[in-house]
């Protein structure tokens, strides 16, 4: 029997970008029990969407659930509503949606990878990643007009077209970015320090990931083949060369490599979109009121996002439910901590890339 100690971690902590609170019970630096409190940032968005905001405006409120994957929320909601209205977006709009969404995934993954590098104490790499992340942010700004809250998709298509001048700029920036991505991949694969810090730490076996129903890069890093994009037919992913990335190791390193390889796949899809963008309208008028029930599964950068909407033919929806990826990852995170070393805690938490404002809404 060693020293029993209770260590609070959060809600405000240097290694944490967001308010979440963990209370660890440790014994000789080994964690024996943990409690998680995720509800600090609960704002009541779902309730407001059901009581006072019209269904067209909701498309611009749901992105404010989370800034990092704002476009995922926006589009998942829009696709769910389009299903209710029995409308199919024009082909050009679909391609543009994929373009914006994949750019957003790149920026989110780069951000997550920068955080993991920071937890390993690799300050240089953080700064490099942040510098190249600015390239994506500039691309997104050119395409959508804003840096974080894009509000790009709307019911019936997208809000802005891709003009030839913007396309030229995008190509220039993306080319630069792609070179850098290969360099990063090299660093993540071969760097001695990073491998030492990450390999074999925080291992999630495949059975555990399946049992606790993990999502996103966490699950794919443990060898579970789950990606909503593979079974999604509202957007032309397969046509654009989508491929699932799966690693078997299940440790922090594998999760990072999943993110890294997904960046390259996203890059490929973006090139395909830019090369094969069809002509036509980018937006069409939609008539009617949402009546009935619909769901949408969407692959956000952190995993599977799920929207359920129900309307009864009025302006205001009767039910809107969001299930976010981080929420499904919390149980496995909790299980993983028991028996881990306390010094690994920040690295493990951050390798999950938790998004608490999504979870609490």
């Amino acid at each position: 029997m060693g020293n029993k100690m209770i260590v609070p971690f959060g809600s405000q902590h240097v290694a944490l970008p967001e308010p979440v609170r963990f209370v660890f019970e440790t014994e000789n630096e080994i964690i024996t029990n943990v409690e998680v409190d995720v509800g600090y940032v609960h704002r009541g968005i779902e309730k407001a969407c059901q009581t006072k905001i019209g269904y067209k405006q909701v498309a611009y409120v749901v992105p404010r659930i989370c800034g990092l994957c704002s476009i995922s929320h926006n589009m998942a909601y829009i696709i769910a509503i389009e299903k209710l209205l029995e409308f199919e977006a024009p082909k050009r709009a679909k391609y543009l949606r994929v373009l914006a969404h994949e750019l957003d995934r790149i920026h989110s993954h780069l951000f997550a990878m920068a955080h993991v590098a920071e937890a390993a104490g690799y300050e240089n790499l953080v700064m490099y990643l942040f510098r190249d992340r600015e390239l994506v942010m500039e691309c997104l700004e050119l395409l959508t007009g804003n840096r974080v809250q894009f509000d790009y998709g709307c019911i019936g298509g997208v809000n802005r077209d891709l003009t030839p001048e913007v396309e030229k700029e995008l190509r220039k920036k993306l080319k630069k970015l792609e070179e850098r991505l290969f360099w990063f991949r090299d660093v993540y694969l071969n760097d001695y320090t990073l491998n030492l810090r990450w390999k074999g730490v925080g291992v999630i076996p495949k059975e555990m990931a399946e049992k606790y129903n993990a999502a996103g890069p966490v699950a794919r890093g443990s060898g579970v083949r789950t990606d909503a994009r593979a079974e999604f037919d509202a957007l032309p992913y397969r046509e654009l060369g989508f491929e699932m990335v799966v690693y078997e190791d299940g440790d922090i390193w594998a999760r990072n490599m999943v993110r890294m390889d997904e960046l390259l796949i996203s890059m490929r899809m973006i090139w395909n979109v830019l090369d094969g963008l069809p002509e036509g309208n980018y937006k069409e008028n939609v008539k009617g009121m949402p009546k009935g029930e619909a769901v949408c599964r969407w692959e956000a950068p952190r995993g599977e996002l799920f929207y359920h909407v129900r309307g009864d033919g009025k302006q205001i929806l009767t039910r809107m439910r969001v299930k976010t990826p981080t929420f499904s990852n919390i149980p496995v995170l909790k299980e993983l901590f028991i028996g881990a070393n306390y010094a690994d805690v920040p690295a493990i938490i951050i390798s999950f890339d938790p998004c608490l404002s999504c979870t609490a809404r």
Binding site: Y40, R64, F111, Q149
Partner: protein, 189 residues
């Protein structure tokens, strides 16, 4: 004091934001915008911070933490509210778990608008906060010139006589004498 003047440390707290403004604050510390060239470092410790940067509309559960962080910071302190929702509540205004802005609980010195606030705007907000901070510093620790001159004279004299100089004691004596004199002189209005 001069060290703090040149490199103020910021404390960032997210009280219910959507992370949009938080990632823009982090982007500010990155190489493109680079607040660190002004000596600004983002630290997680309230006891060492000079500028409190708040994002988010203040939910009912974070407000106690926000107040506690604010209380723990040493004087003088400056508060910067970043983002539309920290200023007024933004899109979240009047949602049931939201308190409509930071300034209902703690005094805010600089408001940075925008949803999400642009890094350029955040930089400008922090620069303004620095100005305010300097002003507040002067207000709180201004030493009258009379005392400064007297202090220099005494120290010079003691050094000439080869005595050990206890600077702290000298200042203490001078200030208490000064205060007594101030209290004794009748006001002339």
């Amino acid at each position: 004091m001069s060290i703090r003047k040149k490199s103020p440390w910021i404390l960032h707290y997210n009280c219910g934001s959507c992370n949009g403004c938080d990632i823009e604050i982090l982007a500010c510390t990155g190489p493109k915008y680079d607040v660190e060239r002004f000596g600004i470092i983002n630290k997680g410790n309230p006891k060492q911070a000079d500028i409190l940067v708040v994002t988010g509309p203040v939910t009912k559960r974070t407000r106690a933490r926000l107040l506690r962080l604010y209380m723990q910071m040493p004087e003088p302190k400056v508060v910067v509210a970043v983002g539309a929702c920290a200023c007024t509540g933004g899109v979240f205004r009047h949602m049931y778990n939201v308190e409509n802005g930071v300034d209902r609980y703690i005094p805010v010195d600089v408001y940075v608008p925008g949803c999400a606030a642009r890094p350029e705007n955040i930089l400008k907000g922090i620069a303004l906060a620095l100005e305010i901070w300097e002003k507040k510093t002067k207000d709180t620790i201004e030493i009258p010139t009379v005392i400064k001159k007297e202090y220099e004279k005494i120290v010079a004299k003691m050094l000439m006589h080869g005595q050990v100089v206890d600077r702290r004691k000298i200042i203490y004596d001078l200030v208490s004498k000064y205060i007594q004199r101030k209290l004794e002189t009748p006001k002339c209005d």
